[in-house]
């Protein structure tokens, strides 16, 4: 499956783009998705330990499976308020 991953804040700046397209096998986990993103955008590799992932606008864990057609976003440490 092909997915577009949205990037924000520090992730957007390091990647130099607001989103990145990745190709993943069906049934892939969030962890595999992060690795695939770093292959396309190596500049994100040093950030991954600080990133959370949102699928369909909810935080998910590394072992969760990414559903096909999902809205995926990388969430650097938040700093609202």
């Amino acid at each position: 499956m092909k997915l577009t991953v949205r990037l924000f804040a520090a992730a957007r700046e390091r990647a130099g783009a607001g989103s990145v397209d990745v190709e993943l096998a069906d049934g892939s986990t969030v962890d595999a998705l992060l690795k695939a993103v770093c292959v396309v955008k190596p500049a994100l590799a040093s950030l991954t330990s600080q990133l959370r992932v949102a699928v369909n606008q909810e935080f998910v864990s590394a072992s969760d499976v990414v559903p096909s057609g999902a809205e995926v976003a990388l969430i650097p440490p938040v700093a609202g308020g």
């Binding site: 924000f8 520090a10 600080q50 606008q57 969430i75 650097p76 440490p77 938040v78 700093a79 609202g80």
Partner: protein, 139 residues
């Protein structure tokens, strides 16, 4: 649930969030206003650029309000957060919480701002005299 959860690029109004939770049955109404500060870590701050994942941020705010309402039944919550380029003195966030009694309103308001800082996808880049930094980002 009744309430207002919004990320916006236009200036904030405390009156608006107060109005959203006001009700004759709510005897306590507590507000929090977050203001851009002119100093941070001993440096003079000139500007903060806020960015949000707006759709998710609004959902997360509503989820946090649901947490507050589960803990303190009868609580009503409204939150508006600003994005864009802000300068010291600008309002970054306004929160109003009402409840039948004051204690619940105080506690729920604190929960909402604490949880907002943990789990709502909003970021700020701080511009100080010695450079710029994404707040909260590690080395």
């Amino acid at each position: 649930m009744p309430g207002l959860f919004r990320v916006q690029s236009t200036p904030l109004s405390l009156d608006e969030v107060v109005h959203a939770v006001s009700d004759p049955g709510q005897g306590g109404l507590v507000t929090f206003t977050g203001v851009v500060r002119n100093h941070s870590r001993g440096k003079t701050v000139t500007r903060l650029d806020y960015e949000a994942y707006g759709e998710m941020a609004q959902k997360q705010l509503a989820r946090i309000a649901q947490e507050a309402t589960r803990t303190w039944p009868g609580t009503r919550v409204a939150v508006a957060h600003r994005v864009g380029s802000l300068v010291p003195g600008d309002l970054a966030v306004v929160i109003a919480v009402s409840a039948p009694h004051r204690k619940e309103a105080f506690r729920a308001c604190e929960l909402v701002i604490d949880r907002l800082k943990e789990d709502v996808p909003i970021w700020k880049k701080e511009y100080a005299e010695d450079g710029e930094v994404w707040v909260g980002l590690g080395p």
